[in-house]
């Protein structure tokens, strides 16, 4: 099974239409990867689908970087009893 980081990157690449290889943990979704506010909403939706979780909108939309998203999603998965590869 792919890790949380790999799955987050894959979703990010698909939604933001950027190359998988370009995505690094320290990158900001908005400033570095060009996510507009509407795409942020799409990202949250697709992360929820990918991991089968429910995220609080305010908390999820306040996550700025890819690395922070990996940590946040791993935490939510743990809280909601969803098994993932760390």
């Amino acid at each position: 099974m792919a890790t949380v980081a790999e799955r987050v990157k894959a979703v990010t690449a698909r939604v933001l239409k950027v190359s998988l290889e370009e995505i690094r943990p320290e990158q900001s979704f908005a400033e570095d990867l060009g996510a507009e506010s509407v795409q942020s909403i799409e990202l949250v939706a697709m992360f929820e689908e990918e991991f089968g979780i429910e995220m609080d909108e305010d908390a999820a939309l306040s996550v700025e970087t890819v690395g922070a998203a990996v940590e946040f999603i791993a935490k939510v998965c743990k809280e909601q009893g969803v098994k993932v590869e760390e």
């Binding site: 509407v38 949250v44 939706a45 305010d58």
Partner: protein
């Protein structure tokens, strides 16, 4: 005699969503007045008490002088208990007389006339138990009194009701300020311009086919044409509007563009061009420039509406536009399909295509997707801002009420979001 208005949590109540999500059914408008005002005028009670779904009680108390959800109101007088859906114009019951319970075909209480002398035989700690007790104790009849069944019934009845209500109101003439040049067509007796109204130059009021009632404090800007029958509510502003026949515009609205045979509850904006026809728009709605709805299908067949997002209900009418819930906002260029259901607290960011016919409450419709968007807290913030702009306040009670609406509407919304995501993932 005390009038007891009841709006119980029943399947029939859902037929008035999204408008009744945030108000009792009797607050809905038809013609010049609300359904409550019509029932009051018909029954002429000494006093009135109301029973509403619990989640509405606290906010509704701030808008009425009537007792709300107070069982003490079920004692001490002759009572006439009336379901909010009963049509006042065909309500053919003597308000006082021997006790009698009128049931619809499903056995639901449509009305209960209860003589004070019989009250001691009844029991119940809430309105439902009280009515069950009345049903089992007092003489019953099955009655076929006409009721309002759906929100579109109000839209379709609106033109005739406007004419009836104008006659009932008994006002005519110009008491406000009408700046010249102006044109008033039709009989002077069919126009009423209330005190405090300002009508700018170059306005046409056409009462040839129905009366026009412009209520206190309204302002009509140049190049507006108002066709009767029509009611313009207190402190509303028309901005070069093409106000076609059959409109009821509640208080404190801003209306431009084209509006036809529609009801706007109040405090809503349709400032710019765009056509809204045969629609019911709630409160605190903002329709962006060029927001337009279809109200007639290309094949002239009866329009259907999906109230639950799944099952199409035929309206039986060839003309029905949109039902738009409170606090909903649309972007520029929004195009609503014929017979659209647009929930409350919904944000529409249109992409130029006609939208799905059913959009649940608290949805952010973005890039063709039903989403949770920026969430409910952001919607509440925006609602607070909208209220503040009109000197009103967003309260904790409002938020609690809307939280209940959020929970009530969650199943339909969640399903719509899931469906939309599945569609997106297969693109």
């Amino acid at each position: 005699m005390r009038l007891i208005l009841i709006d119980r949590v029943t399947e029939a109540r859902r037929n008035f969503y999204p408008l009744a999500l945030s108000r009792p059914i009797w607050e809905l408008r038809c013609g010049i007045t609300s359904l409550e005002e019509k029932l009051q005028a018909k029954v002429t009670p000494n006093e009135t008490a109301c029973f509403v779904p619990d989640y509405l009680a606290e906010t509704y108390r701030t808008r009425t002088t009537n007792a709300v959800n107070d069982v003490a109101a079920l004692a001490g007088d002759d009572l006439l208990v009336v379901d909010a859906r009963l049509r006042a114009d065909t309500l053919d019951i003597a308000p006082t007389g021997p006790s009698q319970v009128g049931l619809d075909e499903q056995g639901q209480v449509l009305y209960a006339r209860i003589a004070q002398t019989d009250l001691g035989r009844l029991s119940g700690n809430d309105i439902d138990a009280f009515l069950e007790s009345a049903k089992s104790t007092l003489p019953k009849i099955e009655c076929k009194l006409p009721t309002w069944k759906y929100t579109w019934d109000l839209i379709l009845a609106n033109p005739d009701q406007l004419t009836v209500d104008f006659a009932t109101a008994g006002h005519s003439g110009i008491e406000g300020n009408v700046e010249q040049p102006n044109a008033i067509r039709g009989g002077a007796q069919d126009v009423y311009v209330a005190p405090g109204v300002t009508i700018h130059p170059m306005v046409v009021i056409d009462a040839e086919n129905g009366p026009v009632y412009i209520d206190e404090g309204a302002e009509i800007h140049p190049f507006t044409r108002i066709e009767g029958p029509c009611y313009i509510g207190k402190d509303s502003i028309l901005l070069g509007a093409k106000c076609r026949e059959g409109n009821s515009i509640g208080p404190v609205c801003r209306i431009g563009g084209e509006l036809e045979e529609s009801i706007i509850q109040g405090h809503s904006n349709k400032y710019h061009d765009g056509f809204i026809g045969h629609s019911y728009v709630g409160e605190w709605v903002n329709l962006g420039a060029l927001t337009t709805n279809s109200d007639l299908k290309n094949d002239y067949s009866a329009v259907s509406v999906m109230l639950d997002g799944k099952h199409a209900i035929s309206t039986g009418s060839t003309k029905v536009g949109s039902l738009i819930g409170d606090h909903t906002k649309t972007s520029i260029g929004t195009l609503f399909n014929t017979g659209s259901y647009v929930g409350a607290m919904t944000i529409i960011m249109a992409t130029g295509k006609p939208l799905p016919k059913s959009i649940p409450s608290f949805i952010w419709y973005i890039e063709g997707m039903m989403t949770k968007g920026f969430g409910r807290r952001k919607l509440y913030e925006t609602a607070g801002t909208a209220l503040g702009r009109r000197g009103c306040q967003w309260t904790d009670a409002e938020q609690t009420m809307w939280d209940a609406v959020f929970e009530t509407t969650a199943p339909v919304r969640n399903e719509a979001i899931k469906k939309s995501r599945r569609a997106m993932m297969t693109k």
